[in-house]
């Protein structure tokens, strides 16, 4: 955390070289949450960026040590709240792997469809928010028009718009509502007719291009060394899609492409996410008509006890690789639980990609990293 006296001391020491320390955040509009960056500047050139975390740290890992295996899933919705369904899925997969619970096919299909809808909703919000950071206000309304349809589907299906909590170990909490397929198809039609608008409005916009191209360049070696995953690493040409490498649920039965770019700059990160939305639509189209009939939840015991040992699962959220590591002593609660959150590693690269660039470019670099602060401050 940030200590006032330390910063003032630093300023006086650096003052001789004409360097200036400014605080960006914790209440800065472009950090989308309470992220606090202490930026050392020389003129307008960035010398160093130091993130100060902890403003919304809730110690979820400690909290989970006192929750049972049925309860702790729901806390993870509050970490990366834009990928809450996928976080729940990662935890459920861990319990199912540890206890060898059989999940019905119907539940698997529905889980994947909702995961992809979540991914689209997350990327839509990112698109609007990032364009707004760079000074374009209109894309926000375009992106939220489509996102609203997804949150409505989520509300009808799970009862909540953001923190879904729809997954239980072994399947789903309850069955789909009858209009689900109709509504998802209506969304696909709407999305396909409107997605070209993003291209016209943002992608081909010369101001947007000149603000993002060549800004915040990250090489493939650095992306791996910093532990970057998701669209951030894929924009640098690192193949890291968990859905392709370690397929879970029904991802090995559907056809989709892993989107890769090679430039590694902010524009490449933007392109990866926009193309990923189209791939998600492709996955949903293949599954939506083929949801098998049958049970939506498998047979499980009321009290879940993970056998003694260590378990690890990983899933691909909208931000990258989300890992759950559990050390079990054989009881009803985990002995130790660690969440490998994608945002934490993606944030650590911010200093590396921003040093030497202008402070105005920081918004482009940070916006395309797609940081969600509760994910970093677990």
């Amino acid at each position: 955390m940030y200590n006032q006296t330390e910063i003032i001391k630093d300023t006086s020491e650096l003052g001789a070289d004409g360097e200036l320390v400014i605080n960006m955040g914790p209440q800065h509009p472009a950090t989308h949450g309470v992220l606090h960056l202490v930026v050392t500047l020389n003129g307008e050139t960035i010398k160093k960026i130091e993130p100060h975390l902890g403003y919304i740290h809730r110690s979820i890992e400690k909290m989970c040590e006192s929750l049972t295996y049925r309860q702790f899933i729901y806390v993870t919705s509050r970490m990366d709240y834009l990928s809450s369904h996928i976080n729940n899925l990662g935890c459920a997969l861990l319990i199912e792997k540890g206890m060898q619970i059989e999940v019905p096919d119907r539940a698997k299909y529905i889980r994947v469809i909702l995961s992809e809808l979540t991914r689209i909703a997350s990327h839509e919000l990112w698109l609007g928010a990032m364009a707004m950071d760079l000074g374009a206000f209109t894309p926000f309304f375009y992106a939220f028009r489509e996102r609203e349809m997804i949150t409505d589907i989520m509300e009808d299906t799970c009862g909540a718009r953001l923190t879904m909590n729809y997954i239980v170990p072994g399947g789903l909490m309850y069955d789909l509502h009858p209009d689900f397929q109709k509504k998802v198809k209506a969304f696909i039609t709407q999305f396909k007719s409107k997605v070209t608008e993003y291209e016209d409005l943002v992608t081909n916009n010369i101001i947007f291009q000149s603000r993002t191209k060549g800004v915040g360049i990250l090489s493939a070696e650095d992306a791996i060394s910093y532990g970057c995953t998701g669209p951030v690493a894929r924009a640098s040409g690192v193949s890291c899609d968990i859905r392709k490498i370690y397929p879970y649920e029904v991802y090995d039965k559907v056809e989709f492409d892993e989107v890769l770019e090679t430039a590694g700059d902010s524009f490449a990160r933007y392109m990866v996410r926009v193309k990923e939305m189209n791939q998600s639509i492709r996955i949903i189209e293949q599954l939506i008509d083929n949801i098998p009939e049958g049970d939506f939840v498998g047979k499980t015991k009321n009290v879940l006890k993970l056998p003694k040992g260590e378990f690890y699962t990983r899933v691909e959220t909208a931000r990258g690789e989300f890992g759950v590591y559990v050390v079990s002593e054989g009881g009803t609660t985990p002995h130790r639980i660690k969440f490998r959150s994608p945002g934490f590693s993606n944030l650590s690269v911010l200093n590396h990609i921003s040093v030497g660039s202008m402070i105005g470019d920081l918004m482009a670099s940070m916006g395309t990293l797609d940081l969600v602060i509760p994910d970093i401050d677990r």
Binding site: I245, G323, K338, S348
Partner: protein, 150 residues
Amino acid sequence: MTNEEIKEYITTLAPAATFDETGEWLNIMVTAEELKPLMLALRNAKTQMNYLFCLTCVDFKTHLTMVYHLSATTHRQSIVIKANLNREQPSIETVCDIWRTAEFLEREVFEMFGVHFTNHPDLRKLILEDDFKGYPLRKDFEDPINMIKL
């Protein structure tokens, strides 16, 4: 690479290492002194472990255990390296010059478990306040205000 090849290779570097294959991945237990040279070798030799995807610590009440999950982006094999530390003065050498992601992860372990990472370039608290007393993720941590009974 198979697990047997990795085991053979590690035995030449760290003769005292013990192996556990009951879990999903190969678990290798080494001493804290052996860790750094072994990690350097695993990163650069034919094993090519260039991706540290999880670094954490576990409190077993009698001792602390550092856990490093390593993987390679070329052949996708994952292994787990572990090292036991005593609870009174836990200290281990940093790996953040091998994998840059370790810099933040080690700072988190430092404040949550009190593990001292020698040769770390910037070992300060990352999340907690500077004057925070105690190590919250240890099992014997007691917070009089927001106590979670375990």
